[in-house]
């Protein structure tokens, strides 16, 4: 889970071909994996598609990288959270089965957020 940075210091997760803020190419990455973030909002989805765990707890989490905020959506290990709680990423080998999307078209491992 890496945020991408352009020469003008704009930070995004995920990366993009051009920086959404200024249009420059992104040239640098910053790992979010060993950081603690805050829950911006969360939900528990009970109507999940084929291949997705049920229920599926999800959050948008905000990380502070040298004073800059960058956000990531990810699964939660629990729904026992509140807005503003601290969470940390834990690696999961397979977050879901591919569903309608081609398995080879993207990665399926990633990070789930666990309350600190």
């Amino acid at each position: 889970m890496k945020a991408h940075r352009c020469p003008n210091d704009h930070l995004t997760y995920p990366g993009h071909e051009r920086c959404p803020e200024c249009g420059e190419h992104q040239t640098d990455t910053v790992s979010l994996e060993d950081r603690v973030g805050k829950v911006v909002t969360w939900t528990t989805s009970t109507a999940t598609p084929p291949g997705v765990r049920q229920p599926n707890h999800l959050a948008i989490v905000e990380f502070d990288v040298d004073g800059q905020a960058v956000r990531a959506l990810g699964q939660l290990t629990t729904n026992d959270v509140e807005l503003g709680d601290d969470v940390e990423p834990v690696h999961v080998d397979r977050l879901r089965d591919p569903g309608i999307r081609e398995e080879a078209s993207q990665e399926w491992d990633g990070y789930r957020f666990r309350p600190v």
Partner: protein
């Protein structure tokens, strides 16, 4: 510049239909030709709004198929896919075709066939519009609604009941729409007691999965009277995108595509929100109607939740919203929805809305794709 008029409109019954996409599109297209009094051979351009016929039923090449079935061989055809806002994007394309002079008569037909798939499968087809870093977490469009609703209710201290009021209002409107999927009233208590789908949102906060089709006929305003006395005019139209990755938005409770597309539509129409008499908003989820009320300028930020409970948006209120029943009770056949929004406005502005009729000269439709990822706003004006 000659403006663009709508001289015909139609929609099929929305709901669980035995017909496949080919027949649904033909049903709406045939009715639209009749409504406009147009012979098929007169149509120069035919646009088809559809999100996922390949994924849903294994049928591609749909516009060419429809041109053949409706006797329009020779017409220029084009498919318009902008996920849930394919219909609104189709209006934009149809408007461009006439405004540019490329076409003297353009038909737009939107449609989707979905109900043969399970809820999970249909949800997955729609979720496939997300970025890989979203999709791998199993996010669905309803999940985005739950994430956004929790933040909105917390940030603006809005009661959960205010969202139930949106659903109750739209279900009540749908009772009088013969084309609607659900024609029954649902009480706020039933909504608040229904099963959780994406906490804090419940079953009745969400639109159903639907089959259906709708169509519109466009021509230059200067010749509209040759077809009918009861036409409407596209006073303004705008389209815009927001981030594809939803969590990258600075304020998750603001839909930038709604703000930007409506700014363009208002500017073209030389109008503002105060000029709008009736609106069809994209209530795929109750929270979306609230966010659109704010981002279209009908309410201050953080105040949109008050409009349904206060009766502003009911049929006899100052700004009736979703007199058709909205996506909520009318149903949401993806590619058809934006076209059906304009159908409802056209009926309202030509005095053909029956029991749903309100007093209106200007109507606005906002059609939202993804979770606000791509949006079109259309302003129709009565003559």
């Amino acid at each position: 510049m000659d403006r663009v008029a709508v001289v015909g409109a139609s929609m099929t019954r929305f709901g669980e239909r035995g017909a496949w996409l080919r027949d649904l599109l033909a049903e709406a297209g045939d009715a639209c030709l009749d409504d406009a009094g147009v012979e098929p051979g007169e149509v120069d351009h035919l646009y088809v709004s559809n999100m996922a016929s390949g994924e849903f039923e294994g049928q591609t090449g749909v516009p060419n198929m429809l041109a053949h079935d409706l006797g329009m061989i020779g017409a220029y055809t084009q498919r318009v896919d902008q996920t849930s806002s394919s219909g609104g994007a189709g209006i934009y394309a149809a408007w461009q075709s006439v405004a540019s002079g490329a076409s003297d008569l353009t038909m737009l037909v939107g449609g989707e066939k979905m109900t043969h798939r399970s809820t999970g499968e249909a949800t997955d087809v729609i979720a496939s519009l997300t970025h890989p870093v979203e999709y791998k977490h199993g996010v669905t469009l309803p999940s985005f609604a739950g994430l956004t609703a929790r933040l909105y209710l917390d940030e603006y201290d809005a009661p959960r009941e205010s969202l139930a009021a949106v659903a109750a209002k739209n279900h009540k409107n749908g009772v009088d729409n013969p084309h609607a999927q659900f024609r029954k009233e649902v009480s706020e208590q039933e909504i608040l007691d229904s099963p959780i789908v994406a906490d804090p949102l419940r079953l009745y906060d969400f639109c159903p999965i639907t089959d259906g089709s709708a169509a519109l006929m466009f021509c230059p305003e200067s010749v509209a009277a040759e077809y009918t006395d009861d036409y409407t005019v596209v006073a303004g139209v705008g389209g815009a995108t927001d981030t594809h990755v939803v969590h990258e938005r600075e304020d998750p409770t603001t839909m930038g595509g709604v703000v930007d597309s409506s700014a363009d539509a208002y500017e073209m129409a030389d109008m503002g929100p105060e000029d709008v008499d009736v609106a069809e908003l994209h209530d795929m989820f109750t929270i979306l109607e609230v966010l659109q009320l704010e981002d279209l300028g009908f309410a201050e930020k953080g105040e949109g939740w008050r409009l349904a409970p206060d009766g502003v948006t009911t049929r006899d209120g100052d700004l009736p919203v979703n007199t058709s029943g909205g996506l909520k009770s009318k149903g949401h056949p993806l590619g058809a929805s934006g076209v059906a929004q304009a159908y409802e406005l056209h009926q309202q502005l030509t005095g053909e809305a029956g029991k749903r009729q309100v007093d209106a000269d200007v109507g606005l439709a906002c059609n939202v794709g993804g979770f606000g990822n791509c949006v079109t706003t259309t302003i129709l004006e009565a003559q």
